[in-house]
């Protein structure tokens, strides 16, 4: 376990949900149906996970410094409404749970101007040791930040779209 990180960490944002990440639907994310392709919703959400990790002190310098990486283990997306080329996106991220090596996140993607919910993404991200490429406990300062974040995020209600099991019989 890393006791410290050899760079200055950004100021911690503890507001809940985390509402800092913004993005735009790129032309190359649009498919023959004329809307953002399913895969690029995942790319956009992955960048929102990146924003969450930067808030934890785990940005590019964590990887470039050969300290560690974060890998997604599992992800669940609900596609709620179409997004077109150039559409602005706003992301809200809730920490649902954490343990010594993993975080369980829930992202919501909103149209940045019209405000509608476009998609949700529930995901598990794990800390990885750079050298062994295997799972490892969070660095100590990251655990401290996760504890601070948990204090505010645990007060949020569980999102309705979290914890879904896919089935035809559930929906009409």
């Amino acid at each position: 376990m890393l006791e410290s990180l050899p760079y200055e960490l950004p100021e911690l944002v503890t507001s809940a949900p985390l509402d800092t990440h913004r993005s735009t639907v790129l032309p190359e994310w649009v498919d023959w149906n004329g809307h953002m392709n399913v895969a690029f919703y995942v790319t956009a959400f992955d960048q929102a996970s990146g924003a969450f990790m930067r808030n934890m002190g785990l940005g590019r310098r964590y990887v470039d410094g050969k300290l560690g990486m974060t890998f997604v283990l599992e992800t669940h997306v609900t596609y709620d409404r179409e997004m077109k080329e150039g559409a602005p996106m706003r992301f809200a991220t809730q920490l649902l749970a954490r343990d010594a090596k993993k975080v369980h996140l829930f992202h919501e993607m909103f149209h940045g101007e019209q405000g509608y919910l476009a998609a949700t993404n529930e995901t598990i991200v794990m800390n990885i040791d750079y050298a062994s490429r295997r799972s490892a406990p969070w660095p100590v300062p990251v655990t401290a930040r996760l504890d601070l974040l948990w204090a505010t995020h645990q007060l949020l209600p569980k999102p309705a779209k979290a914890g879904r099991i896919m089935s035809l019989s559930k929906k009409k």
Partner: protein, 170 residues
Amino acid sequence: MKLAPYPMIELDLSAPLDRHRATVKPDWIDWNGHMNVGYYVVAFDQATDTLCQQFACGFEYTRDKIGMTFVLEAHVTYDREVKEGDALRITTQILDHDAKRIHYIHTMYHADEGYLAATNELMLMNIDYASRRSAPWPDFAMERIERLAAAHASLPKPSQAGRLIGIKKK
């Protein structure tokens, strides 16, 4: 619509469907040196095209302004890394279907080494081109979906299907 207005490919009733092959492209790699999570879904979405071609709801279906297929929900398990240039083999199993939707799971293997790389469970809905709203599958597609589903019905349900995401409490 009774008949597709373009030729349909020969139906493949082997179970699971085992036709899709791909290669990990250089631009699918991220700063961790492996295929990025988003591009697993690009690869799986292309396997969905291979599935949809089986019931003539692929590219021609949209090109001819008949309909489209929209994904409602997706669940991915990332089981092992794949690197640039790796050969991928993706198999597909239909789990359930109704008048407008199919529920299915893709399994991605490293084609040379054989290991499981990822799975993708999906809910896909048929969309009317003009209204951009849900609509029943056309007759030509439904007939084939039913035959595919019947062929896949004898397969065991994969352990990755129907998963709930969570961190197990110790």
